[in-house]
Amino acid sequence: MITPQIAMFLILAAVVVAGALSLIVQRHPIHSALSLIVVMVALAGLYLLQGAEFVAAVQIIVYAGAIMVLFIFVIMLLNAGEEERSNVSRLARFVGVPLGIAFLVEVAYWIGRATAHLGTPPEEMVSTRELSSLLFREFVFPFELTSFLILIALLGALVLARREESD
């Protein structure tokens, strides 16, 4: 039984997977970045399907709109050219590939088990007001702590990037 919701889910999921594959396969950094944007936008569609409209909008604004613009900006600034295909090393061929496949199968198995009994997605959208009261009342300390972590990372980047004072 395929409802419109399941159909939408299948389409968006296919786009996400295709975008992620193309991200790896593409040889030019800009094309990879474009594929990543496709992944981000399709993920926002999946969130919307789950009734999380605020998260979906923020996903596009922050990830597709801001972070990926920075990626593209840096790629353009460095004028990064096409990557060259090199032969797969022996270690990667005989150890890496089987291990990767094994890991993929394991993850797929556990996700499949965990989601064997799917609930139906909510009919109503989660309102921004509810979300904000959750974030700023019940989870205010984890929320503030996360922003603190990001600030620390930012300061670290600043210290690393700062030029030495010449004296």
Partner: protein, 408 residues
């Protein structure tokens, strides 16, 4: 028919609205180029387009035909995929954003189906708008990069750096309005601005309680002009330094698409400024018996414009103009009469005031372009990060303080 409409609301109600809005929008885009050329010309003491049709009224049509028939050149060594994608991305995103704009207060009723005036009414309309505008930079950045040419690359780089810098200030500047309205829904933001100070000064957010958003509006409009790559922030296409910036290598209709995208985002920004700070479709006059005559302003404005155009048109220099201009005058007069009819008069109030406010903002856009010189690149960055962003944070803090202090 009503049953059919109830079963297929998408087909009967939404699709016609999309088609009509698209038609109106594309026509408006075409005539916005005419409007801009005329206004800038008059600012510079020139006449502007005058030859193609009376007062150059057929100039947009001539331009469009010319764009279609030009050779479509793709530069050697261009990245084909990105090169073709960029104009489509720019234009489709710019046009999509108009879908969440509400044009009037009440829903339309088409075949018994209630539907909002505008394509859709979303709870997170404002966020969706920002999401779409934040994607808009890819059109410019990709165009600059994929052309495989130095000037477009510089233009694309400048543009992406500029958009990252000004998007922060743009988003922060409207937080004050969101705090006062308590919602992201654009229609509800407009209805929250109803009412009047002392009975006659409208409580629009610009001068609303508890904290007038004058600062917020100035920040918003400055950041929005930068975000739409318009003068004095048009460094991405600074013709004195970069030939034509990011669209140097584009020809034919792909070039036209970048232009249409730019004008479409001008319209979106004007809509947004009207909705957020100037009461959207709300009339500037109170709705009491003293001001009852203001309901006839739309009808009177159209009728007077029609009469003026008729009187001017019969004495126009060319015979073609002597036919077309009076005809347009009669059409305008007829619309004026139509808008005065009791059945229509209530419905036209909202869209009339809304479109009037948008027109004023579009004029300001052109006026700014005709008046101010272009920023230097380092000035642009300094201004964005050291002036706009701190001021917008100050605006958020002051507004939230005012709201907390005035609430019981």
């Amino acid at each position: 028919m009503n049953e059919f409409a109830a079963q297929h609301p998408l087909l009967v109600v939404v699709l016609p609205k999309v088609v009509v809005l698209l038609f109106v929008l594309l026509t408006a885009l075409a005539y916005l180029t005419w409007f801009e050329r005329k206004v800038v010309a008059h600012i510079q003491a020139r006449w502007g387009p005058y030859r193609v049709g009376p007062h150059g009224l057929l100039q947009p049509l001539a331009d469009g035909v010319k764009f279609l028939f030009k050779e479509d050149v793709t530069p050697a060594g261009a990245d084909k995929f990105a090169y073709y994608l960029a104009p489509f991305l720019a234009m489709s995103l710019a046009i999509t954003s108009i879908a969440v704009i509400p044009f009037g207060p009440k829903g339309l009723t088409i075949f018994g189906q209630e539907t909002p005036t505008g394509i859709t009414n979303l709870n997170i309309g404002l966020l969706i708008l920002f999401a779409i505008t934040s994607m808009g930079v890819y059109g410019v950045a990709l165009a600059g990069w994929s052309s495989n040419s130095k000037y477009p690359l510089l233009g694309g780089l400048r543009s992406s750096a500029q958009m990252i810098s000004y998007e922060l200030a743009l988003t922060m500047s409207v937080v004050g309005v969101i705090l006062m309205a308590g919602t992201f829904n654009l229609s509800e933001i407009v209805t929250s601005q109803q009412g009047f100070h002392w009975g006659f000064v409208p409580r629009w957010n610009l001068i609303g309680a508890p904290m007038p958003q004058v600062l917020g509006f100035l920040l918003f409009f400055t950041a929005a002009v930068a975000e739409t790559n318009r003068a004095p922030f048009d460094l991405a296409e600074a013709e004195s330094e970069l030939v034509a910036g990011f669209h140097t290598e584009y020809a034919s209709f792909k070039f036209a698409m970048f232009f249409m995208a730019e004008y479409a985002s001008m319209i979106t920004v004007s809509c947004l400024a009207t909705i957020l700070f100037f009461g959207g479709w709300l009339s500037p006059f109170p709705q009491n018996s003293l001001f009852a005559w203001t309901h006839y302003i739309p009808a009177a404005a159209f009728a007077l414009a029609g009469i003026a155009l008729f009187a001017h048109g019969v004495r126009y220099i060319t015979i073609f103009g002597r036919v077309v201009l009076p005809f347009l005058g009669v059409v305008l007069f007829g619309l004026g009469v139509l808008f005065g009819l009791p059945a229509v008069i209530e419905f036209v109030q909202g869209p009339f005031w809304f479109l009037l406010k948008i027109a004023i903002f579009l004029f300001i856009y052109v006026w700014v372009r005709g008046t101010l010189p272009r920023f230097r690149y380092d000035q642009l960055m300094n201004f964005g990060w050291k002036v706009l962003l701190p001021l917008s944070i100050v605006n958020v803090v002051i507004t939230s303080l005012a709201i907390v202090l005035t609430q019981p």
